[in-house]
Symmetry: C2
Subunit: 604 residues, 2 copies
């Protein structure tokens, strides 16, 4: 979204007043609802419907995974969606129960209460309240900037790896075999292999039919429809409505051919009905305390998953997600889940992708989803009795496989091997050790790479481009150098991690050139000099002085010079050793070696 940058779409006539900007920022729905384009309606409606159809069985399955009764998942798919649509920053994020958070809830609650008991349900509601408070608090404190430390490579690799995990988690439904849930990719592969004998051919056939139809609809149908002369306005709904069509087709097949009883095809089955009532989790202080660690983990993992998918989808439309506002939106959604007897929610990868691919343009899609969930819970449950689970697996599989994308890796490989390394580390870590530690390792690797680069800066010896006042790297350009003056440009800020390297490198360069009488340090790329680097510079100056070499600086930036002046560094080095430009320094040092000139103190 661009509302953080008012008027940038047309800077020549900024039409949005500051008030509207603030409204748009803190109540993002005012942006898409006030300027709602009728052309967006079909996409929003189709997306809302399809996500609702996915969400009904998924939310119940995830609730069971979390050790909660099925209706808890449905309750978490009503008010939270409406709240996020009003307050959240991403327009296409489909909020609701997700597999990973459900697993974390189960792991956190099983030591505290018996799964299925009323106390367990109260604790789950309590976690949702905690998560809501933590996420909203982080948003209000503007801690969302922390996600900037997720580099493009980390997000891209995490998304691909998580999509693979989710896709493989659906294979069992596709094959009709029963194996336990697991977070580990390798365990899952082993379980699938061991249960290959229990394969249900009819289930697999239905699933493959679904996949074939979905892939056809995704890749060939739009062109086919156009060739058939279908009006453009219908092409999108028809092709994006394919999941709904597959659901209807396979449900009718199972019902009509009695595949559920006759061939053992797993179906969604009977679902209890009724809207949730308002609740509040009444827990004692000790219980609140024991829920905190799990709630912290869910808050961070949930936001990371949500932000990664939201950011990834937004960037496909060259939109942006405001992390602070998104934290507030997710936090409010979790508070809504807590108040309506649900459990923690976040932006789910698979549903968000379906939402995006089905053409969702705004939060309206989520409002429609919530409305349909409400209607479904009240009236339509019996119609989905014969919906085969393998169809839902096919829909999820086709949706998330589009997220598995190795092009960013190839791109990085050509542009920056370090980034490619971060991609591979993140991808391999998420698949092997899990999603949370995988992202953690990716972030640590990317920060480590940045520190490593900053600690081994590019250092160039420069000379004058003939006939100009410009000085460039002597290894890359035909330049004129002065044997008595060594002009060195360091392409990095000077700080603790590169101070020792720089000191040694400069001394080595001087030692290799016995004729050098002046060392000129060009600071055009030095954005700050920290205390450790300052110590290093003073040591360097002393050693050079012992060796009979004068030390000078040029092109010191304003903010850097301000600090150096504050500690009287300029007096130590001598004000006439600091030059505004490299050219002035070289001119001054060239004349008969160098004599103290009435040069001004260089600023910036």
């Amino acid at each position: 979204m661009t509302q953080g940058i008012p008027g940038v779409q047309d800077p020549h006539s900024p039409s949005t007043s500051p008030q509207v900007g603030i409204l748009q920022r803190y109540l993002p729905f005012t942006d898409w609802s006030w300027h709602y384009s009728p052309g967006n309606l079909p996409g929003d409606v189709i997306a809302g419907v399809i996500v609702a159809i996915m969400l009904v069985p998924q939310s119940m399955a995830y609730a069971l995974l979390a050790g909660l009764p099925p209706q808890t998942g449905l309750y978490a798919s009503l008010l939270p969606l409406i709240v996020y649509a009003l307050l959240g920053s991403s327009r296409v994020l489909a909020v609701g129960p997700v597999a990973m958070v459900s697993l974390l809830v189960a792991a956190g609650l099983e030591p505290l209460a018996e799964p299925g008991s009323p106390e367990y349900g109260q604790l789950a509601v309590g976690i949702a309240l905690w998560v809501g408070l933590i996420q909203a608090g982080m948003g209000v404190l503007r801690l969302g900037f922390l996600v900037n430390f997720l580099s493009h490579s980390v997000i891209s690799a995490f998304t691909s790896a998580a999509a693979l995990i989710i896709a493989f988690s659906q294979v069992k439904h596709l094959l009709g075999v029963r194996i336990p849930n697991t977070e580990s990719f390798l365990v899952l592969l082993r379980e699938l292999w061991q249960s290959r004998g229990g394969l249900n051919g009819v289930t697999l056939g239905l699933g493959l039919l679904g996949i074939a139809l979905l892939l056809y609809a995704q890749q060939k149908l739009p062109a086919q429809l156009r060739r058939w002369g279908i009006p453009q306005v219908w092409v999108l709904p028809l092709s994006k409505g394919a999941p709904l069509g597959v659901v209807i087709l396979t449900t009718l097949l199972v019902w009509g051919l009695d595949l559920s009883q006759g061939s053992g095809v797993a179906v969604v089955g009977a679902i209890p009905a009724g809207l949730p009532s308002l609740t509040f989790p009444w827990l004692n202080l000790e219980q609140w305390g024991s829920l905190l660690p799990t709630a912290l983990a869910i808050s961070l993992v949930g936001f990371t998953e949500s932000y990664a998918v939201g950011q990834s989808l937004a960037s496909k439309k060259r939109q942006k997600v405001d992390p602070d506002q998104d934290l507030i939106g997710l936090g409010a959604a979790n508070l809504a889940a807590a108040l309506t007897g649900g459990y923690p929610v976040t932006g789910g990868i698979s549903r968000s992708v379906v939402n995006f691919q089905a053409g969702a343009n705004s939060g309206l899609a989520s409002l429609i989803t919530a409305g349909l969930i409400a209607l479904t819970v009240l009236f339509l449950m019996p119609l989905f009795f014969f919906l085969p689970q393998t169809t839902l697996a096919a829909i999820i599989l086709v949706a998330v496989l589009g997220l598995v994308d190795f092009r960013p890796l190839l791109h990085s490989w050509h542009y920056d091997r370090g980034d490619a390394g971060v991609w591979l580390v993140t991808f391999a870590s998420v698949l092997s050790v899990g999603i949370e530690p995988g992202i953690g390792l990716g972030v640590i690797t990317s920060i480590g790479l940045f520190l490593w680069r900053s600690s081994r800066p590019h250092i160039a010896i420069v000379g004058q481009v003939p006939g100009t006042e410009h000085y460039r790297n002597m290894l890359r350009h035909e330049v004129i150098t002065d044997p008595q003056v060594l002009a060195i440009r360091v392409d990095e800020s000077l700080f603790f991690a590169n101070a020792a390297y720089l000191e040694e490198h400069l001394l080595k360069q001087v030692a290799e050139r016995p004729e050098v009488q002046h060392l000129l340090l060009i600071c055009s790329a030095v954005n700050f000099i920290d205390g450790s680097a300052l110590e290093s510079l003073l040591r360097l100056m002393e050693k050079l002085w012992q060796a009979g070499v004068q030390f000078h600086m040029a092109e010191v930036k304003g903010p850097v010079m301000d600090r150096l002046k504050a500690i009287h560094f300029v007096e130590k080095i001598g004000a006439d050793h600091i030059f505004l430009s490299t050219h002035q320094a070289m001119q001054a040092l060239k004349v008969q070696g160098w004599k103290a000139s009435a040069n001004f103190t260089g600023r910036e």
Copy 2:
């Protein structure tokens, strides 16, 4: 040491051949022994003697703290000192048993064996072998660069805080009270307060006498001696020999006045005699495995303590410590400890400071210490029977209090508030949560500060300095700007943590200036552009293009341009949108707005 930078002391006549450089690097003692100046002898002898006198009782006390028999500490103070003097990088580091490592040994071994048993002793020797292998391995693999991530502030604050802890650990000896050993500063203060009733006045008097004499010798004696006409060559030995004098004086007082039996003054007492024999720890595989975690912790903490104090003392003489060689030296010293029935050693803070203050100039001081320890163990033990422990406490106290130095904090406060914050965090953490986690928090804070700074770069709008080809910050200089061309210089590399900030900031600047038709990004301080920032730049270009603003770049560095060319970014932006210098760009863009010129592709 400067042997890593051959010939830099006099670059005009490099006298050291490459062979000598290599010898000096890998066998550092060849440097100080071949060029040994007779003037260094008094300092080395006095320092060697004083450290030996400190080391005899200290090493036994620390061995007892580690749950080992007293002679183990003495054995760890013989061969390890000789080996480090030959292979270690620091000239003044006093290697041997230290309090912190002794505590870690006790904590690691107590679950595995009964303190005092032969098995316990074998395990302690096993840890020393592990530590030796780990440290030497890190040195050979050149992993010593990791210590560059200890910034000046972290080391300075850690040293001050650890010195305070050590000083306060001696207060109980000074007061003559008995309280258990503890790593926690706060626990120690509480214990001291609770035991105030057991204060021994005679012990305290002896201790205060020692402190007074030592402080007098440290601060007034040299000037006094000169006023008395004592030759300069005797001033240093006499003033630095003060600890030895205090030892003799107080020992005679205790012996002559029968203060040990009569007034309950704690003395060193009887010490067993004899040189160690060569040993090897015969442990089973499971035991080796269970020792590894403790050995890893000791390896890292020991090296960090040793490097911090070694670096701190070396920088006072503007020398340097080579971390890789120092790891090899410490590793070899620990292997020597393992082979002679000792336990893990490292460079100790208090003894190293005494060594330095007593005038140690080279590893010869340590060789003398080791020789004296050997002689002492063989012949002189009975003479120290009446040495009061309070005197040793006074020596340690006066020595380490010199390390408590708040000037770096004040200095940082004026130069760089961020560095001052790192100092305070490290200092407070070491005092409150302990030395290891304190250093860890300091490192994390300093890396975090660097990342935070890099993520909020200085961004300047520049204009032409009249009559020159130079462009400077319009807020700091009287410059000429072109209302249609916004020339912005970003003073930081572009990477994941600042990509989003930069994108928003540039769009905001453009949005605030409706008359702008060209945005010129000056990359003189951009040392690399990572994959995330590249994505951000592409998004920025698209948004600017939608707003009718042209995007240009100037002063792109060679290494950055090479990468941009590899992924055909130059074709995307247009080769004629990239300029060698800001001046060329401004000239081209000034003429009738701008038209595609036959400009060359800017390199660097």
